[in-house]
Each structure stands twice: as structure tokens, then as C-alpha cells.
């Protein structure tokens, strides 16, 4: 079958000889992918920043598909169902899943206890091949996958597998109160969605910080927010202090993660020398920009083992740090309601629709930010929908 094939940092190809996935467990399903997205966190893999990313892996944790085959223990899904598949592989029975922490499942990733199981996210994420392929194996098929509601656009559905819930949970973890000033670092798809969702919680002011002008313009229009380019400032922290009456933001959201720009020290030590787990520039700025006693919500992805940030300021300011991988299944009912009611417009984020055969171009365009790319969607051959 056709599948994305990782060959090394900045090198991938569309491989036509990938073996078809097989049922390996009674709770497995095999899904024929109908739509698949490239996530900003896939770029961390693409850039070689995530340990245990092995040559030959297929990435992709945001996808929809039609159930082609089910294991003997699958009861809720049947062949032919069109499902959206949350990026978490979750068993539904471990203590974490029982408490709706589906991003922290204890029975889906043997390789790292700090990380849950994720589709197509290196062996650090459990070693699963992902959905940037024609077919994919979906473990625990009765737990997370959900039949796409009647009337929902497939492009909205595929964005509900990660981007929308992650943006929403970023705002939710911020504990936003009506009138709060919320600063979002990063105008990628998740940052843009977090800014949009901050309003749902009653934010009084939403500010997005990034350095790519076309993305800032997109954020202004899509998320109804203010958006500023940190390259036009001497010091973004000082700028934000001035913008917030010298007080600091009530809530800061880090939607950037380990691939941040903006600090030579962080870039050299984190991305060039790999002495820390990527560049933590946005997290450092967020700690310093939030008010005393404020809340810092982190959804940006950082690799192990550690990063250089100002823990002293975190303690001295009494900041509450809230962070987790998104618990997609927990949030889906509410978010489906928001989408169906028109309060959220996920598919508005998709800027490029690209055949799976051109996956290497899609990664490059997204990574190098060509052609005003916000979010590329991959369409496999034979992805016909009845």
C-alpha cells in the first residue's frame, strides 16, 4: 500500500510497498484512511528532534477512515463505519483512562512511561504506524474512535482528532475567567485554535505572539484576536507587560513547543547541539509574561530529557503550571456540539489539500512555511467516501 516513509531528518517519501497492516489483537480494527493531516508536532519528528524515531516509520496521528476489518473482541464498531480516530491510543480500563486521562493511558506504550500511546509518533509514542497511509491499524477500536456524526463535514471531523481538542484543552487548562487577558504563544494551527477557544471561556482580550506575518494575519481574522510579531520587538516579555498595564497576562498558553525561534541561546543549545530537548523560548517567555499567581497552560510538545526555563520565576510568581496531552475522547461530545452549532469552524484552518503521493512536498511546504501554509491535508488514493 501507499504510505509515508521516514528516511531521516528532513527526508521522507511516499512508499508504495509498505505492507498492509494486520489485526494483531482482538480489540484492533483496520481502517482505510479517508483524510489525514500533518500536525505541527509531526514536524518535530521530521526535524529529527524526537528520540527513537526509526527509519521506515509512518507518521500521522490525525485521520479519519472507514473500518475495513475488526478483531474478534470489537463490539461497538462494524465494517463500513466512517470514524474519526483521536490521536491517543487508549485502553479505557487503566486508572488513567478510567479518570478520563486518555492521553496518559498505561497500557498502550511500552517504550516510555512518561508518554501515552500515539499513532505515528516514534517509538517514544509506542511504535505505532500512523495514518499518513492508505490503511492503518487502530488498537482498542471500541474506546476512542467515534463514528462521524451525520451531517458533519469530513474536513471538520478530521480536525477533531487533535487540533480542535488540543486548542480547546489549552484554553480550558488556562482556567480562564470572564474578562481575562489571554496570551497565546504560537500562531500555528493549535495556537490559532486555542485563541479562538479562549473566547468560549469568556476571555476579555486574546493576544497571539508569533514571527510569521501571514500566520499572524490569519490568526487576527480566524480567531478575532490581536496578533503581534515578536521580531518587531526588542523584548516580547516587556512588550506584553506594557500591554497588560505592567501586570502580566492572566493566562499564558504555550502552543509552540520545542521548535521555537526567537533566542539564539535556546536555538543553539536546543536545536543545533541537542543539549536540551529543543528550544524552550516560548515557554520561557510565557513564564515571564504571565501575572503573579497566573496560570500557564502548556500544550506545545517538548521531547525528553529536559529544557532550560526559569523555574525560579515560576516559583517566585506562584504560577500554576497546567499541562497534558489532550484527552480527545473526553472533549469530543462538547466539541462536536460547538462545530455542529457553528461556534467553531475547524475546516477553515485547512490551507492545502495534497495527494498522499506528494507527502514529501507537503512536509516541506508546511515546515518551510511556503505558500502561506497553515494546515496541510493529505488525501490518499481510493479515499472515496460513499
Amino acid at each position: 500500500m501507499l504510505a509515508m516513509n521516514f528516511r531521516g531528518p528532513y527526508r521522507i517519501r511516499a512508499d508504495r510497498n509498505k505492507p498492509y497492516p494486520e489485526i494483531k489483537h482482538p480489540y484492533d480494527a483496520i481502517v482505510r484512511v479517508t483524510r489525514s493531516l500533518i500536525c505541527g508536532s509531526d514536524l518535530h519528528l521530521y526535524h529529527g528532534l524526537v528520540p527513537d524515531t526509526r527509519v521506515g516509520m509512518t507518521f500521522g496521528h490525525e485521520f479519519t477512515g472507514i473500518v475495513e476489518e475488526i478483531g474478534s473482541g470489537v463490539q461497538k464498531l462494524k465494517v463500513g463505519d466512517h470514524v474519526l480516530v483521536p490521536f491517543n491510543v487508549a485502553c479505557g480500563t487503566c486508572p488513567f483512562c478510567k479518570q478520563e486521562l486518555y492521553g496518559n493511558c498505561h497500557e498502550s506504550n511500552p517504550e516510555a512511561t512518561a508518554v501515552g500511546g500515539f499513532f505515528g509518533y516514534a517509538h517514544t509514542g509506542g511504535g505505532y504506524d500512523g495514518g499518513q497511509a492508505e490503511y492503518v491499524r487502530v488498537p482498542y477500536a471500541d474506546v476512542s474512535p467515534m463514528i462521524i456524526p451525520a451531517g458533519m463535514d469530513i474536513e471538520d471531523a478530521v480536525l477533531l482528532t487533535d487540533v480542535v481538542p488540543t486548542g480547546y484543552q489549552a484554553a480550558e487548562m488556562g482556567g480562564i475567567r470572564k474578562g481575562d487577558t489571554v496570551v497565546v504563544f504560537g500562531a500555528g494551527p493549535v495556537g490559532i485554535m486555542a485563541a479562538r477557544c479562549a473566547w468560549l471561556f469568556g476571555a476579555g482580550r486574546v493576544i497571539v505572539i508569533d514571527h510569521i506575518d501571514y500566520r499572524l494575519e490569519f490568526a487576527r481574522n480566524y480567531s478575532y484576536c490581536e496578533a503581534y510579531n515578536f521580531k518587531e520587538m526588542d523584548d516580547p516579555v516587556l512588550f506584553l507587560k506594557k500591554q497588560t498595564d505592567w501586570f502580566g497576562a492572566d493566562v499564558c498558553i504555550d502552543a509552540v513547543g520545542c521548535d521555537a525561534s526567537g533566542s539564539a541561546l535556546q536555538t543553539i543549545t536546543g536545536k543545533k547541539l541537542l543539549l536540551q530537548a529543543g528550544a524552550a523560548t516560548a515557554l520561557h517567555w510565557a513564564i515571564n509574561s504571565v501575572k503573579k499567581g497566573g496560570i500557564l497552560s502548556v500544550v506545545g510538545v517538548y521531547g525528553p530529557p529536559f529544557n532550560l526555563v526559569s523555574i525560579g520565576s515560576l516559583m517566585n510568581k506562584g504560577i500554576t503550571l497546567r499541562t497534558n496531552q489532550t484527552s480527545v475522547k473526553r472533549l469530543l461530545p462538547k466539541l462536536i456540539d460547538h462545530v455542529m452549532a457553528g461556534r467553531l469552524n475547524p475546516k477553515g484552518l485547512i490551507s492545502h489539500r495534497i495527494p498522499l503521493e506528494e507527502v514529501s512536498d507537503a512536509y516541506h511546504i508546511f515546515s518551510a512555511k511556503r505558500d502561506n501554509c497553515i494546515k496541510p491535508l493529505l488525501i490518499p488514493p481510493h479515499a472515496n467516501i460513499a
Binding site: 528516511r7 528532513y10 527526508r11 517519501r13 494483531k24 489483537h25 480489540y27 529529527g48 528520540p51 527513537d52 526509526r54 527509519v55 521506515g56 516509520m57 480500563t93 487503566c94 486508572p95 478510567k98 478520563e100 497500557e107 498502550s108 506504550n109 511500552p110 517504550e111 516510555a112 512511561t113 500511546g117 509506542g126 505505532y128 504506524d129 480550558e172 482556567g175 475567567r177 470572564k178 473566547w199 468560549l200 471561556f201 469568556g202 482580550r205 486574546v206 478575532y224 490581536e226 506594557k242 541537542l274 496560570i295 525528553p304 530529557p305 497546567r322 497534558n324 462538547k334 457553528g342 461556534r343 506528494e358 514529501s360 512536498d361 516541506h364 511546504i365 518551510a368 511556503r370 505558500d371
Partner: protein, 182 residues
């Protein structure tokens, strides 16, 4: 002490959004929840943590391949990915890495080393299978040609000039080393 600073006058850059109506924003405030304090809603506490590892586990996926597992857990999880089992020199390095806990740099940095070795193994495997890697395709340069042609041409021209200069310098050095025959 009197504070003569005039922060609002000097620094109120754009506060228009803060004071305007939010009527144009779909769903403004619909999910506002005054009880959303830092312990809610990340976890619905029900005491399951105290079960520790004594919970009802799903059936075990047959372990018919080598699966490395963190030393911070007693064994392999009920399901696991079968994408790319460890193999070759990179596999040996990965096995070494998995002797150390996730708290150690040795574990993660060794895995990064294995990843880089694995890239070389990937080249060798490609050639063994009669596939010559195509950097133009694999690096997505078709997209660069399509959307940033000027930059692409510039990069290629600079690369060609640097390569030509290096070759020229090496040739000059080699010529100087050759002693004239008396």
C-alpha cells in the same frame, strides 16, 4: 513615594479589542465556568489511582517480535506498535539505551545516536534493495521549486559555487605538493 510614570499614555498600543463588544464572536463565554480552578477539569478523580497496577487489563497482544520496554515498568503493555523493531547496529545501541530509566540523559541521547546510525543503515538498505534515494523528491524540493523558485535557484547556485571553490582549492593544493622532477 510618588509615581510619575504614565503607563497608559505611553504604552496603550492597541486596547480596542479589550473594551469592545464580543457579540461578533461565536459562542463567547458559553463555556465559562467559575469552578474551573487548577484541579478541574483535567481529571475526574474516582480513586482508581490506588488500584496501582491491579486493574483489569485487556488481553495481551502476542509478543512475536522484539519490543523494547522502559525499565520504569514491569513489562510490555497490553498492546504495542509493530512499526519498526530494533535491528542492526542501531538496534544494539537502542537495547543499551533501554537499560537506563527515562530520567537519564543516557537513555535519550543514546536513542538519538541510534536514530542517526539508523539513517545510514537506511541508505544501505535502500541501495541493497536497488533503490537509489532521490534527495530532490525526499526533501520536498519540488514544493520549493513550485513556491520559492528564486530562493531555490539561489540556494543551488550558492551550493554549486561553494562546491566548485572547494574542488578548485583542493586541486591547487595537490598541484603544489607535486615536486618537479630534476
Amino acid at each position: 513615594m510618588e509615581n510619575n510614570a504614565e503607563p497608559n499614555k505611553v504604552y496603550s498600543i492597541d486596547r480596542s479589542m479589550a473594551n469592545t463588544s464580543k457579540a461578533h464572536i461565536p459562542g463567547w463565554g458559553i463555556d465559562a465556568d467559575p469552578e474551573n480552578d487548577p484541579t478541574y477539569p483535567m481529571k475526574h478523580w474516582n480513586g482508581a489511582d490506588h488500584e496501582r497496577l491491579n486493574y483489569e487489563k485487556p488481553p495481551q497482544q502476542p509478543i512475536d517480535m522484539e519490543v523494547l520496554h522502559s525499565v520504569e515498568r514491569p513489562g510490555i503493555t497490553s498492546v504495542f506498535g509493530t512499526s519498526t523493531p530494533p535491528s542492526g547496529l542501531s538496534g544494539m545501541i537502542r537495547r543499551y539505551a533501554f537499560k537506563y530509566s527515562e530520567a537519564t540523559a543516557t537513555h535519550w541521547m543514546t536513542l538519538i545516536l541510534a536514530d542517526r546510525v539508523n539513517v545510514i543503515e537506511g541508505y544501505i538498505d535502500d541501495l541493497k534493495n536497488g533503490h537509489v534515494p532521490n534527495p530532490f523528491m525526499e526533501r520536498g524540493w519540488h514544493g520549493e521549486w513550485k513556491y520559492n523558485r528564486k530562493g531555490f535557484v539561489q540556494t543551488v547556485a550558492i551550493g554549486a559555487a561553494v562546491t566548485a571553490s572547494v574542488i578548485l582549492l583542493l586541486n591547487l593544493k595537490n598541484k603544489k605538493k607535486v615536486k618537479p622532477v630534476a
